[in-house]
């Protein structure tokens, strides 16, 4: 018989009935986190309206939508990827590459819809590259997506160079489409990009919380081996998630291009921070297996509102990043800090290490 002895750390397999080590029941922690987020959102709204008289106005809401909608769209597939225990740092670069593709084709006279189609295909291909390297070749996703982050941005640079499209002499992008950057959805103050995000969020939420695929994602993140033993096709799912991410980031790139009515190669540089911050701040665990859509939606609202408030206070975008960075920090420090405090308290209660 194989023994129960394990070679490793003090937190070994406990015999029958011993209290389990490790994280607490998922759902309880999630609800607590989301409640916290609601409070933070309220605080941010109060802060914003205190600092700026125009904060709680319809146009603010609209611009919050245009500024955050396309970023939020990228957060959805990233959330799934992080839940399976991987990461995708190339999201903002794919956004840039897709925009550059549209710009390049438009500059060369292509009609707009085929240009969009090509951009989406590029997104799928880029995602597939990530997926194949991570899921099939088994390479670490940090390293791979840092590589593709650089590669995609580089390809965008090759396509557009220092050009901003539309360049002098180019047709302007179709007004019927670029109006999404200026005009809300009729009858509301919602920007089109925000509306699309919300619809997608509902879809992702249903998949995550109510479908076999969603259960599989959680299982893969918590215990990939056990997932395999139930017939879950771990590698196939991860590959498809990366492709999905590629396509949605490409789509976000298209949205951004239309909203700005122009594109250059460095569109969205540095946005990966915001996307990751939204995902982690929304309660998705970096270790995988945990996360809720309501949490991510709340995080989108908070990050968007904060940035809006700071912009209206004329705070430099670079300085705004301090806040986003701090949010990111908090979103991992708080749960880890809680664990650390718990560990310290337990150590004080027990007689000595080694129990």
């Amino acid at each position: 018989m194989t023994s129960d002895l394990a070679a490793t750390s003090v937190d070994v397999d406990r015999p029958d009935g011993a209290p389990p080590a490790g994280r607490r029941p998922g759902w309880r922690a999630a609800v607590r986190w989301e409640s916290g987020l609601v409070l933070v959102l309220v605080a941010v709204l109060l802060f914003g309206s205190a600092e700026s008289s125009t904060f709680l106005s319809p146009s603010t809401f609209f611009y919050l939508g245009t500024n955050t909608g396309y970023v939020a769209i990228m957060a959805l597939p990233l959330m799934f990827i992080v839940m399976t225990g991987e990461i995708d740092l190339s999201v903002a670069s794919m956004l840039g590459l897709s925009g550059a593709t549209v710009g390049f084709l438009w500059h060369h006279g292509w009609p707009i819809w085929p240009a969009f189609a090509v951009a989406l295909i590029v997104g799928a291909l880029g995602g597939a590259l990530n997926g194949v390297l991570v899921a099939k070749a088994g390479l670490p996703s940090i390293a791979v997506t840092i590589g593709t982050l650089t590669l995609f941005r580089g390809l965008a640079e090759i396509l557009l160079g220092s050009l901003t499209v539309p360049a002098p002499g180019d047709r302007l992008l179709p007004a019927s489409l670029t109006k999404i950057g200026v005009v809300p959805v009729p009858g509301t103050q919602l920007s089109y990009s925000m509306l699309i995000f919300l619809v997608l969020a509902v879809g992702f939420g249903v998949v995550l919380h109510r479908t076999p695929l969603g259960r599989s994602l959680v299982a893969i993140g918590l215990q990939p081996e056990a997932a395999r033993f139930v017939g879950i096709r771990v590698n196939r799912i991860k590959l498809r998630l990366y492709i999905l991410s590629g396509v949605l980031c490409a789509f976000a790139g298209i949205l951004l291009t239309l909203q700005n009515a122009s594109v250059s190669y460095n569109a969205g540089t540095g946005l990966e921070l915001n996307v990751i911050a939204i995902v982690l701040f929304g309660g998705v665990s970096i270790f995988g297996g945990r996360g809720t859509i309501p949490g991510v939606v709340l995080a989108v609202a908070i990050v968007g509102a904060l940035q809006m408030a700071l912009t209206q206070m004329n705070v430099d975008p670079n300085v705004q990043n301090i806040v986003t960075g701090a949010l990111l920090l908090l979103s991992v420090v708080v749960p880890s800090g809680g664990e650390a405090v718990r560990r310290a308290r337990a150590r004080l209660r027990r007689p000595a290490p080694g129990s």
Partner: protein, 509 residues
């Protein structure tokens, strides 16, 4: 071979007496007692759950005992951590040694204690020299300059033993050291143990391979249900005595067995092979029968099960379930055809520990629970409640993580997960490992009930009594090949053990 004098009768190297350890309400150890003399190889025997692991972890400083005493060379000691135990001269060699794959063997030996030369820089030459000397003392050939990556388990063990030696260990505890070794490697290990004994070290040897124990150990201690049962010099006991002490009750009372007439062939395995693991394995399982795959750990049984189910890819052979040939490496297809696998490792493979009882139970039935693409929590809960009831699983709330359940109840959840699919064939790997005795009997009853209904069961077990009592047929694997097949009437301990260990003649000790 000249007998090595043990120091029996003199001052014992180590005495642990009356050690107790509880985890919450669970009493893992009630009376842990072992006495080790210098120069002896001492076997610690007991079934799973007997408390051996807890005792060893106390010796290693990983757990602190709640009660009892520990004496090293006659002096009472208390360890506040693994480092203290090491300093007292106790080294534990685990079954799966954990080395630094990127570093050299020599550095693995001396990490944190590398010999220093001028200006406190590491003297590599001296380090390699010292390592080579230790290996020479052990009588083995290992290049200290090679990286630890790629070393076989046997060689990794030797590195661990060398480390213990370099720490001047007076007591070495070896946990199932031969479990993953070939005969040749095991023989080499026993030579090394003789060398250690000749230096007056005491070796505490945990094993289930009784013929090894009887061939190599001087004394034996048996534990059962967390308590010390008996200790004796090896010449004074027989295998039967030992087994009786380990099990403690009439075998038949433990294992209910309803006679069933086997039906159609459900599983056909033909020429199955997996490179490096096993070769040319063929057998059948019929509806209503329990076929046991017996053999020593490392014989390849779990690998066969995984290849049959499709979690591992096979390199040769075919698998047919109810006449349908299954594609290679496709667990979903196997499941669709009616196969189920309760894996060996409950914690990593059988359950998602942090998921609830309800979600774990439903995890293999998601497609069936799906209505218009969606799953309702209520349906998951209903399924889980149903099976938890049928299998008498004890839990707090259905949403509680599986990690909060005891081992026996966890196993029942895994069973429930698979039985919910009403499989034609249930493969179950180590059905009662790490489970308390009461639940063991329940699991056996469940299996018995299954076959009575016509399910085919392929059971892998390292517990001979379990195999002999439950199986209609016993197939024995040794080092990746089928060496024997016994019908229920012909199978007994001797014949099975002989087939498992490759002894062609001679009785067990």
């Amino acid at each position: 071979m000249p007998e090595i004098q043990t120091g029996a009768g003199g001052v014992p190297r180590l005495v642990i007496e009356g050690a107790t350890k509880r985890f919450g309400a669970v009493r893992a150890l009630e009376d842990g007692s072992v006495t080790l003399y210098p120069g002896e190889a001492h076997a610690l025997l007991g079934e799973n759950g007997a408390g051996k692991s807890t005792l060893v972890k106390i010796l290693g400083g990983v757990y602190r005992p709640d009660g009892g005493s520990l004496l090293i060379d006659g002096n009472p000691v208390a360890f506040n951590g693994p480092a203290a135990a090491r300093e007292a001269g106790i080294s534990i060699i685990y079954q799966e040694p954990s080395l630094f794959p990127d570093l050299t063997v020599a550095e693995n030996l001396f990490m944190g204690r590398q010999p220093l030369g001028r200006a406190r820089r590491i003297d590599r030459a001296a380090m390699q020299q010292a390592a080579a000397e230790i290996f020479a003392q052990l009588g083995v050939e290992l290049d200290p300059r090679r990286p630890a990556r790629g070393l076989s388990v046997a060689d990794q063990q030797l590195v661990e033993i060398a480390k213990a030696l370099s720490l001047n260990a007076g007591v070495l505890v070896m946990d199932e050291p031969t479990a993953a070794l070939t005969t040749v490697e095991a023989d080499r290990l026993f030579e090394v143990i003789r060398t250690l004994r000749a230096r007056d070290a005491a070796v505490l040897f945990i094993s289930h391979r009784l013929e090894e124990v009887f061939a190599n150990c001087q004394r034996v201690t048996v534990m059962r249900d967390g308590r010390f049962v008996t200790t004796a010099p090896i010449e004074e006991v027989t295998v039967d005595d030992v087994i009786r002490s380990m099990v403690g009750r009439e075998l038949s009372a433990l294992f209910p067995k309803t006679e069933t007439a086997p039906g159609e062939v459900v599983l056909e395995v033909d020429g199955l092979g997996s490179e490096g693991e096993f070769e040319d394995v063929s057998f059948t399982v019929r509806a209503g029968e329990i076929v046991a795959l017996a053999g020593l750990v490392g014989a390849g049984r779990s690998e066969v099960a995984r290849a049959v189910f499709g979690v591992d890819r096979r390199s040769a052979g075919t698998v047919r379930l109810a006449g349908v040939e299954l594609p290679n490496g496709d667990p979903l297809a196997a499941m669709a055809a009616g196969m189920a696998l309760v894996p060996e490792d409950r914690r990593q493979q059988g359950l998602v520990m942090e998921m609830g009882v309800d979600q774990n139970t439903a995890l293999a039935s998601l497609a069936r629970l799906r209505r218009r693409g969606l799953i309702r929590r209520a349906d998951e809960a209903a399924l889980a409640a149903d099976w938890a009831g049928r299998l008498q699983v004890k839990y707090g709330r259905l949403r509680d993580p599986a990690a909060t359940l005891s081992g026996g109840n966890q196993q029942k959840v895994v069973l429930g997960k698979w039985l919910a699919r009403a499989p034609k064939l249930l493969i179950i790997d180590e059905p009662t490992r790490g489970i308390d005795v009461g639940t063991k009997a329940e699991v056996h009853r469940i299996l018995d009930g299954l076959v009575a209904q016509g399910t085919a069961v392929l059971m892998i077990s390292s517990e001979l009594p379990e195999v002999l009592a439950m199986a209609d047929r016993v197939i024995v694997l040794r080092e990746g090949r089928v060496t024997a097949e016994f019908a229920r009437a012909e199978a007994d301990e001797n014949s099975v053990m002989r087939a498992a260990t490759g002894q062609l003649s001679g009785a067990a000790a």
